[in-house]
Amino acid sequence: MKRLLFIGALVSVGLALVSNAQALEFTGYFENRFYPRELKDEVVLQDYNKLRLDLSAEASENVTFNGDYIYRTFHGATRLNTLDLIPDRVVSEYADSQGTTVDSLRPLFEIELDDENFLDNAYVTLYFEHVNIRIGKQQLPWGTGYTWNPTDIFNVKNALDPTYEKEGVNAFKVELPFAIEGMITAILGIDEDLGSSTKALKGKHHVLGFDLSLSFVEKEQGGFDYILSKELSERRRLLGADFSGQLLGLGVWGEGAYNLMEDSEDFGQYLLGADYTLESGLYFIGEYYKNGLGKTNKEHYDFNDWMRFLGDEGENLGKDYLFLGERYLITELWTWANYLVINLNDTSGVFFPWFDYSLGDNTELTFVGYVAFGERETEFGEFGIGGFARIRVYF
């Protein structure tokens, strides 16, 4: 309820600003994504239409409002069951542990993709001489990694489409620029009360050619233990650092986060990445990700691990990952890329070729395929093949 009031207040402020705005602009895009894929030896078809309306207004030299609203309709296979994405053995063991059968569990794990409309971002930014303040539902990018961001607890990335836009986060953000490249950022996430709200502090500077950051985040980590059938809530304190720069001609970056957990075991997550462009323009990228939450043996992936992977947390199952990719501009309009994500512990992975085509000044077309490989019961081994075609038209 408080969150609704918060958003409502923001929209009111935004509209008040808009009414006096010196420069008001409506933009947005329409997007359709067609997503055929293999699931349990069947071909499943999904499709959505998404309309995003963006509004930006410059109320004065030092005050701006930005917001966007999303309306999305789903078509095709809109009813899915999470249990279909989890190996049968793990589901059976889980059912046994709960003293029930798989069939009786299935209705509890049905997912219905209902049409949705929501305020994706809506924020007011105040610019002062030595401080910027942003209030509202806003983007909070965190970390330097491409496929994974261990220091980011605000967003969840999809390894198959890591650069796709994320939903905004309700927050109060204060930025204090210092020197030419330095910035201190303080964030207060808006939740039921101050104690349960996320707090973050980050210091960033550019030193000897490197962007360096140190961060501290404290949040109330929620969740659900399916095996013990109980809600989870504990304090999580994250100490993080990241960098990006250049070494021996390579672009290099890294991120590390050590998580101090109130009840469960502390864990660390670390990432190192590098990229390079050949004289021909062929671009290479690679990342190694160490996931302290993961397990090295696929036999030890339990039902909770799978739900954490498939659910909102998006945490991977294994301990060690490799991401490799190459990208090339075939013509001025066609970009071709190939990417590979491998779980080094269970040796499963996903290979996904990617094509982007500029159909017009404001029209993008994307084709992505994927082929998963690996033994049964591995992280990616039962994902089969699939892909998506996406068209986006800006206006």
């Binding site: 620029p177 030419i180 720069g245 501009l329 001025e332």
Partner: protein, 249 residues
């Protein structure tokens, strides 16, 4: 850095420069460098990309430069697909940051990214970054030639370690104004791209080419960069050329 084309699509020369006899090649190069490296500038430009298949894409952007192109900033204004994207180049293009408002993310690109094409155009980042011929090339005066009736000095430029990735450039500069008229870019001994500079005007006491045409001779594409507005020697704050400023409107 490294190249002879400024992001604002202009080249320039101090007003009143007069060609004098018996200049050494070093003195000529210093004058050519002088035309391209003004104290500061602010402008708007349009880029029309024509693909080898004849399709066109049009981009528009604002540009700012300071400290003789050591600092450069580009802000895309059209089309909607890229509106608000920003490119910040510091240290003559050795450090590049790319910002997109869709995710509010600033990404640091390593110097190898200078070889990548900018927004699908025939210009690479290193073609647009600032820099001096003196520092980034060893040069040889090959003689004098006419380009479209304009008497030009003709130079061969071989990139040094701090220079771009091309194997060789041939540059023609106007003998009167020292404005660059043409550059041929070679890669592994083969002619890769050709830049032609047109519509030379004197603005605010600086000579500049209002229209640049980069033709990719191997791929067949062409990018025309037209300067729509340009102002020189204006006061720009250092803070404009910083990563925190990328997130401002």
């Amino acid at each position: 850095m490294k190249k002879l084309i400024v992001i604002t699509a202009v080249t320039w020369l101090a007003l009143g420069t007069v060609n004098v006899h018996a200049l050494t090649s070093k003195e000529i190069i210093e004058k050519i460098d002088g035309t391209e490296r003004v104290a500061s500038s602010e402008g708007m430009a349009r880029q029309i990309i024509t693909t080898s298949g004849g399709k066109k894409r049009t981009l528009e952007f604002k540009s700012y430069s300071k400290d003789r192109n050591d600092k450069q900033l580009v802000i895309y204004t059209a089309p909607k697909r890229v509106k608000g994207d920003k490119i910040l180049m510091l240290n003559e293009g050795d450090d590049i940051w790319f910002y997109t408002p869709k995710t509010d993310r600033v990404r640091h690109l390593a110097s190898h990214a200078r070889r990548q094409k900018v927004q699908g155009s025939d210009f690479a980042y290193e073609d647009l970054a600032g820099g001096s011929i003196e520092e980034d090339y060893t040069y040889t005066l090959l003689g004098e030639e006419k380009i479209d009736g304009t008497k030009c000095y003709k130079f061969e430029l071989i990139p040094t370690e701090s220079g771009p990735h091309y194997s060789k450039l041939i540059l023609w500069a106007d003998k009167e104004t020292y404005v660059t008229i043409r550059i041929d870019y070679y890669e592994d001994g083969e002619l890769l791209k050709c830049l032609r500079c047109y519509d030379i005007r004197n603005i605010d006491g600086h000579w500049c080419a209002m229209k640049l045409v980069m033709t990719n001779l191997q791929e067949g594409g062409q990018t025309v960069m037209e300067t729509l507005e340009i102002r020189f020697d204006i006061a720009l704050e250092d803070a404009l050329f910083s990563t925190p400023s990328l997130k401002r409107r």
